[in-house]
Symmetry: C2
Subunit: 303 residues, 2 copies
């Protein structure tokens, strides 16, 4: 039997989706929710993101057997301190953050008497806030759990079952490896997307209107990721600095090599590079991690 | 009255889509098609990509009033030489290539006696080949026409009407400006995507299987673009070298600045950059150049 009284702290895309997913998939469980923004609490009440929206984090946590922090990485410590004292001693503490080493440390310092098992559902959209969540966000997505050493195996099993109940596939790994993997599959792509959208916005010779009009040539794909929540992403890059800088270094070396091939007109080198990047997309589609339809199944071709 | 006998040279994604779109939108017109690959001609016949699939380019062009080259940029000159002598002197020559200065020059050298007005429909998917085309590819997409100086205005008007009939919005600009605009809205994004997919494939500490499993964190978006036709993209970077290198230089400067902000922990600089890239996506959606649904409307959340 997995958790029965789940407190969700932070009611944006992830927190809201967890609330809606619990209602759909774990009908026996009850949820409490809290967000420090009163407007978000109001909207969360209207959308019924949790069974009960509380006015304080402590209230939400008071009877929980699982509390999940769904706030930006840099806000985890403060959010956790708000429930210290109210949270039952046998409740498990978890989260959904995109960098695990720094968050494990912040939660551990704030709640030293509780078991803490961090988790990261690799799922999301470019939208954020209390209107962004939906119950199927975790379907067929991977959730990475990073158990501490040592780890309470009963609680770990219950957390695995919780995420599986929400439709996710679960994998465990150590926090350091998680941060390296996510640096390449998520953090670097976001940094690159934010950069290129900024570069395109700042040109003098090409107007912003031209960038927008002709964005279907490829640029528009990057604007989706670059529309993600700036607070969360600021925190991610600060919290996972070393791994991001390492991946960025490799990316820059590879880009410099391609740049040189363009400059000297080495068509064979360009072709060889471009030809070997197709296979990975095929694998991603085969493993159910992306839409198989052309152009992600975009509907905009039909007026 | 726009063109009535359209020869399509090259029957991949673009050529095939033109053939299907002409049948849907210009029922009075007839199309001939040619591809140098016999397998492609066979498949084009089966899919009826043109009314008549010919065994030689000269055959396809013999009675045309418009010939459109839909081959990679580096193959334009050779393809055009194949129809020299067969093409009627009053036929208009055009193309769909992604770089306009080099293609205008190649077509002009191969077909010095014909009027040439290059065009570039900013539309496509990651798929290529004779199975990739569809009739609505150009709906609500921009087609950029780059008229030479001087230009036959009657032929220009007919070409504008042709593309508008296929559902496109038409804009004209000079070829040099086109190449700069597309360097930022299309060529640089493709180069970046090819680079990051290559970087992720080459890691030792993170396995390929991990990259694939956790790609929903952002990486998978880049794999779509990096699955595009390698021959075409090799040619694009060779043909539009100067503009691509200029944009790449700006991108690298901007990336270096963000890298420094991460290294020194300047959260305010990161936040300011990330916060200003949201507006451009809103504009792209408002102007109908992308799907407004979260995650491009991907269907993979529902099993």
């Amino acid at each position: 039997m997995t958790f029965q009284r789940i407190a969700i702290i932070g009611l944006g895309l992830l927190g809201g989706s967890i609330g809606l997913a619990v209602r759909q998939h774990l009908p026996g469980a009850t949820t409490t929710g809290y967000d420090r923004d009163p407007q978000v609490r109001k909207r969360a009440t209207e959308r019924k993101l949790a069974d009960r929206i509380c006015e304080t984090a402590a209230d939400a946590a008071r009877e929980a057997d699982l509390v999940i922090f769904c706030v930006p990485p840099g806000a985890m410590g403060d959010a956790a301190r708000e429930i210290a004292g109210a949270l039952p001693a046998d409740a498990l503490v978890s989260d959904v953050g995109s960098c695990k080493q720094s968050i494990a440390q912040a939660l551990g310092e704030a709640l030293p008497d509780n078991a803490i098992i961090p988790a990261h559902p690799v799922a999301g959209t470019e939208n954020s806030g209390p209107d962004a969540g939906f119950a199927t966000l975790f379907h067929n997505r991977w959730c990475i759990i990073t158990p501490p050493e040592p780890c309470n195996l009963l609680l770990l099993t219950k957390l695995v079952e919780f995420w599986e109940a929400l439709g996710a596939n679960v994998e465990t790994m150590d926090a350091q490896h998680h941060d390296l993997v996510l640096a390449v599959t998520s953090h670097l792509p976001h940094l690159i997307a934010y950069t290129i959208v900024g570069t395109a916005s700042d040109l003098e010779e090409v107007t912003r209107s031209e960038v927008i009009k002709y964005s279907a040539g490829g640029f528009r794909d990057f604007t989706r990721i670059a529309a993600s929540d700036p607070t969360m992403w600021r925190d991610v890059f600060l919290a996972n600095k070393d791994a991001v800088l390492e991946m960025l270094q490799r990316f820059t070396e590879d880009l410099t090599a391609l740049q040189r091939s363009i400059r000297v007109g080495d068509g064979d080198a360009l072709f060889d590079h471009f030809a070997r990047t197709r296979a990975i997309r095929r694998s991603i589609i085969e493993e159910g991690q992306d839409d198989a339809r052309p152009d992600f199944g975009r509907a905009d071709h039909d007026d």
